[in-house]
Each structure stands twice: as structure tokens, then as C-alpha cells.
């Protein structure tokens, strides 16, 4: 005997349809709330529901390098908790790059890296190669996979290529949540492989600039680990603390940097290529706090201390304010950063021809000197109606001013006094961003 449902009266059928519709609406609302932002329902198309973050940055130094950098980052969180991220960056740099030599009372003429052209620096000016240019393309990917309800595995890779440099990095990390997901402990490792092919081949470290003693391509490799803890402190306070260590080995010189050799009167008598150690180990501690003070105002404060076996010690403090306006449709973020570093133990702005440096290593690269730097920045962002079925998008503009000032100035011979041997680096960054 076949059982057939009894036909319902019209009124009852209509009531059931309304009840089913209401149930569906409730379920879909609940599902939408339970998903992460950007999460896609299972079975949705691969190209749907990707979050896209993009920016175009313009960077300019006073009298030195200018760079234009478009960046795009796409990511998707799947309903099962997996997430994928891809990013790509392109850099175009041009301008004048300091070669490490000191200003002089006399004009100085240098051969370019290729040896096919020369450039002359006027008396008193900082020697810089005026024909510097480089392009860089970088792409990266990251995949995060939930192993259990409280464990996540993340693996990723990055590749970048420049005219004279290729780099590949792989990384993996695991994160464990506990204490009602108020605490996350994470551990990650990375391995970087770099290959250098400088224009005009690689100079032998410490060799005479004019003798053109060069070798072929070089490599350097890095390996590192990071241990981190993230803790929800209160309803308004989130903190993160990281300890990291890394070690790089191989050719760690800048192949285009030279050091002036001067006599006791301050006259430049020659130049030699810089000569850095072939290994470097760095350790750092990083602490960041995010605090919401009101419904409109929150702050982020990060502190970092780093030390390495080149005797560089650095302190960094960065503070940014996030101020929401117009019912969170706009926000402004002022930023301030303070940075200080000590010099590497082989840093020297010049070599006296009567004295050898205290070690076999030497570099006049001002990035290894003792200086402090300040950054002032502000960002303004506006929420816009979303594209297609997206809830909203955001357009932003950001500007930063960065300035370095040298802290330690060594005594110089009379012939160099009055010259600006440590010109401050000043740079501006302007960035527009769009994400949807």
C-alpha cells in the first residue's frame, strides 16, 4: 500500500510556505554571521568571493632614489577554514645611489659597475652613481589549513627577481589556540636562498676599486625561526609577543659599495670595495599591543629590540592611532615611528692610508652606521559601496615622511672639515590603496 500525503487545505499550505521561508531566512542569516569575513560558501566558484587589496606607492629620496611600487594581494577564506593568499609586487627604481665614498675637496671620477662608463662628482658632493636603475618583481603565496579545531598549519613561498638578484623563500608555521581561543602560540621557520649576479660581475671584498678584481655570481642563504604568543588581555586589549632568530651566510656585501682611502690631510688617495663578514646572526624581540579606548579611537603600539653579531643593536617604537569617523565610514590613522641603531663593529666612513682597519672587515655603507630615524605618517580611508554583491570597498591615501640623522661622527683630518660627510637621508612615501 502506498501512502500518499493528504492534500492540505489551501490556508495550511500557504502558512507552511511562509514558515519554511522564515526558517530559510533565519538559517541563511545565521550562516552568514558564523562565517569569517570574506568566507565563501562551500561549492562556490573559485573566482568568487576573493578579497582584493591593492596599492600603488611612490617613494622619493632627496636627491637620490625614486621608486614606484604597485602591489596586489588576493585572498580567500573557505567555509572549511582553509585560506589561500597570493600577492605580487613590482618595483621600478631609478636615480642616484650613494656608492659609499666620502665627499672630497676635489672632483672625483668613478667607473660605473659595468666599467663601460664613468661619472664625476663635484667637490663637496656625496658620491652617488647617477645612473642607478633596477626593477624587481616579487610574487608570494600562502596556504593555511586547519588541522584541528584549535590547530592551524600554514605554508608559503616567495620568489623575487631583480636585474642582478634572485631570491626564493619557503616558510611554514603552526599555531595552537587554547584558553577559549584567548591565547595562540605559534612557531614558524623560514629558509631563504639568494643568488647575486651584479652588473660587471662580483667584486672581490676588500679589493682595490680600480683593479677590477672580480668573480662570478655569488649566493647567500638564510634560515630563521619565530616563536610567538598572542593573548586577548581584556575585551579591549590584544597583545602579541614574538622572539625570532635568523642566520644568513654567504656573500653579504653590497657589491656596489666602496670605501674611501684618505691620507692624513684628508685627500682621497684611493678606494676599495667593502668587505663584510660572510655570516650574520640576528635576534629580536617584538611586542605589539592593540587597545580600543572608545568606540571611535584605538591605538597600536609596537616595540622591537634587535641585536646581531656585527654589534648592531637597534630599538624601534611605533605608535599609530585609529580614529573612526561618520559611523565608521571613514577613518584617519596618524603614525609615528622612532628608530635607533648602533654601528656595526666594522663600519668606518673612511680608511686612513697609514692605518689598517681594526679588523679585516670594513664597510662605509651608512646603513651600518649609528643613526636614528623618525617617521611621521597619516592615512585617510573612506568606505564605498561594494562592487557587485560585495558589501563594501575601501579607498585610502597614505603619506609618510622619513628622516635619518647620524649619531656618531668620527674626527676627520683638516682637509675634510666643513664638508657634509653625513648628509641626512630624507624620504617621502605617498600611497593610494583600494580594497574590495
Amino acid at each position: 500500500m502506498q501512502l500518499k500525503p493528504k492534500a492540505l487545505p489551501v490556508k495550511a499550505a500557504s502558512a507552511r510556505r511562509r514558515l519554511m521561508a522564515a526558517s530559510c531566512a533565519l538559517l541563511s542569516a545565521g550562516a552568514a554571521q558564523s562565517q569569517e569575513p570574506g568566507a565563501a560558501p562551500a561549492g562556490s566558484g573559485l573566482l568568487e568571493d576573493w578579497s582584493v587589496d591593492s596599492a600603488l606607492a611612490y617613494y622619493h629620496e632627496n636627491g637620490r632614489v625614486t621608486a614606484v611600487e604597485p602591489v596586489v594581494d588576493v585572498s580567500k577564506v573557505f567555509a572549511d577554514g582553509q585560506s589561500l593568499n597570493f600577492n605580487a609586487t613590482f618595483d621600478a627604481l631609478s636615480g642616484a645611489s650613494p656608492n659609499g665614498a666620502l665627499p672630497s675637496r676635489q672632483a672625483q671620477t668613478f667607473a660605473g659597475p659595468s666599467g663601460k662608463r664613468t661619472y664625476t662628482i663635484a667637490p663637496g658632493q656625496l658620491p652617488a652613481d647617477p645612473n642607478y636603475h633596477d626593477t624587481r618583481f616579487a610574487a608570494g603565496a600562502n596556504w593555511t589549513l586547519p588541522l584541528t579545531r584549535v590547530d592551524n598549519l600554514s605554508v608559503g613561498g616567495k620568489f623575487s627577481a631583480e636585474d642582478d638578484f634572485i631570491s626564493a623563500t619557503v616558510n611554514a608555521s603552526i599555531a595552537h589556540d587554547f584558553n577559549d581561543k584567548n591565547t595562540t602560540l605559534s612557531f614558524g621557520v623560514f629558509n631563504e636562498f639568494d643568488s647575486l649576479h651584479p652588473v660587471g660581475n662580483t667584486p672581490v671584498p676588500g679589493s682595490d676599486f680600480t683593479s677590477l678584481v672580480r668573480t662570478g655570481g655569488k649566493t647567500k642563504d638564510g634560515v630563521g625561526a619565530l616563536l610567538g604568543i598572542t593573548q586577548v588581555m581584556t575585551r579591549n586589549w590584544l597583545t602579541e609577543f614574538n622572539l625570532s632568530v635568523d642566520r644568513f651566510t654567504g656573500y653579504l656585501n653590497d657589491p656596489y659599495k666602496i670605501t674611501s682611502i684618505i691620507d692624513s690631510a684628508g685627500n682621497t688617495t684611493g678606494y676599495e670595495y667593502e668587505n663584510r663578514p660572510d655570516q650574520r646572526t640576528r635576534k629580536s624581540a617584538y611586542w605589539e599591543n592593540r587597545v580600543a579606548w572608545t568606540s571611535q579611537l584605538s591605538t597600536g603600539l609596537s616595540l622591537r629590540y634587535m641585536s646581531d653579531d656585527w654589534a648592531v643593536r637597534s630599538d624601534t617604537a611605533q605608535l599609530h592611532l585609529h580614529w573612526s569617523l561618520s559611523n565608521r565610514e571613514r577613518y584617519i590613522e596618524p603614525t609615528f615611528r622612532w628608530y635607533r641603531q648602533t654601528a656595526a663593529n666594522f663600519y668606518t666612513p673612511f680608511i686612513l692610508d697609514t692605518l689598517k682597519p681594526t679588523t679585516n672587515f670594513e664597510s662605509a655603507d651608512d646603513r651600518l652606521g649609528a643613526f636614528h630615524a623618525l617617521t611621521y605618517g597619516v592615512k585617510y580611508a573612506q568606505k564605498l559601496p561594494g562592487l557587485g554583491n560585495r558589501p563594501e570597498s575601501e579607498i585610502s591615501v597614505r603619506a609618510e615622511y622619513y628622516q635619518q640623522t647620524f649619531n656618531e661622527r668620527v674626527p676627520v683630518p683638516a682637509g675634510l672639515q666643513g664638508l657634509d660627510l653625513y648628509p641626512a637621508l630624507k624620504a617621502v612615501l605617498v600611497q593610494i590603496g583600494y580594497r574590495f
Binding site: S167, V232, S244, D246, R282, A285, S307, A344
Partner: protein
């Protein structure tokens, strides 16, 4: 006993984490403020990446927040 700044920062963060252990954390229904975009530690990853690239190429330090590798021949 000599304390360097690395030890000091570890102690300071450890003290903050350890202070009031019994009251650390929130219940799931108290995450409204923490759920705001600006409270995420990686709220603006592109801004951070562009800044990190600038600092990596001009200073002797990098990393801390994440891996220190540069993937760039600029330093």
C-alpha cells in the same frame, strides 16, 4: 647580573601577560570590540609590507613582527 634590552623587553611583556592571570581573556560573546578590523594585528598588510621594504633597504634591522628575510638585493 647583566640585563640587556632583549631580556628587559621579554620581562616586560611577560609581566604584562602574567599580570592578573585569572582575569585574562574574554568569553566568546565579549569579542565585539576585538572583532573590529582595526583591532586585527594584520589590519593593513600592504601598508606593513611597503613600510618593511623601505626600512629593510635603509636600516640594518628587519623582522620582528614576522620573518626577517628580505628577498631583496637592496641590503
Amino acid at each position: 647580573m647583566k640585563f640587556d634590552r632583549l631580556s628587559f623587553l621579554c620581562l616586560l611583556a611577560g609581566a604584562a601577560l602574567a599580570s592578573g592571570c585569572s582575569s585574562l581573556g574574554v568569553k566568546p560573546w565579549q569579542r565585539d570590540v576585538l572583532a573590529r578590523d582595526e583591532m586585527r594585528l594584520d589590519a593593513n598588510p600592504l601598508d606593513a609590507a611597503i613600510d618593511d621594504h623601505m626600512y629593510f633597504s635603509k636600516e640594518a634591522s628587519s623582522g620582528g613582527r614576522s620573518y626577517a628575510g628580505g628577498g631583496c638585493g637592496c641590503n
